[in-house]
Amino acid sequence: MLTLVTIALLAAMGMALIRAIKGPTVYDRILASNTFSTKTVLMISVLGFLTGESEVYLDIALMYALVGFIVTVAVLKVSEFGDLGQSRPDSGENRQ
């Protein structure tokens, strides 16, 4: 069963990748990368059970969930403000 879940997750990740490549807007790509990272978290958890070392794998899954969120926020910020450091938007010129 767990192997089937892994295969299904891989298929879903492939579909997310297609969406990330096709776009068309930058928001589609960010959305695709965000759901891709959620699926990665699930995949790592399932792999932990498959290998029998779920304690170790779950630490990685937890970290991946956190980092995935930070990545989404960071990419969003770059695409919106054109810079990582600003605390408020200065202009809306950098959007695609």
Binding site: M1, R19, Y27, I30, N34, K39, V41, L58, L76
Partner: protein, 106 residues
């Protein structure tokens, strides 16, 4: 008892996989970024929760259970936040959400 738990776990994993696949198909089929977000929402909420719950049932009373619970709570807290931030940015960036075939022709 443990057999019933196993059955329930397989059932949850099955529905999780089903929702994840349907959500991914929706991600490809939907017409614009907002509707795609709804499709991705299926994967990120119900699909993820079902799979983690299914794993929790086979984990038993160990530290793995606690870690799975933490992962679940985190996904349920962070995913909608990322989605909301993305939707908010997309509203300002795109301005015209898809409202059906007739309007898209214009």
């Amino acid at each position: 008892m443990s057999q019933a738990l196993d059955m329930l776990s397989v059932l949850l994993l099955f529905f999780g996989v089903l929702f994840i696949l349907v959500g991914s198909i929706g991600l490809l089929r939907m017409p614009d970024v907002f509707t795609r977000m709804h499709a991705a929402g299926i994967t990120d909420t119900i699909g993820a929760a079902a799979i983690i719950l299914g794993l929790m049932l086979v984990a038993g009373w160990t530290i793995v259970l606690i870690k799975l619970l933490i992962v679940l709570l985190f996904l349920m807290l962070l995913n909608p936040t990322a989605c909301h931030a993305l939707a908010r940015a997309a509203v300002h960036g795109i301005r015209s959400p898809w409202q059906g075939e007739s309007e898209q022709q214009q």
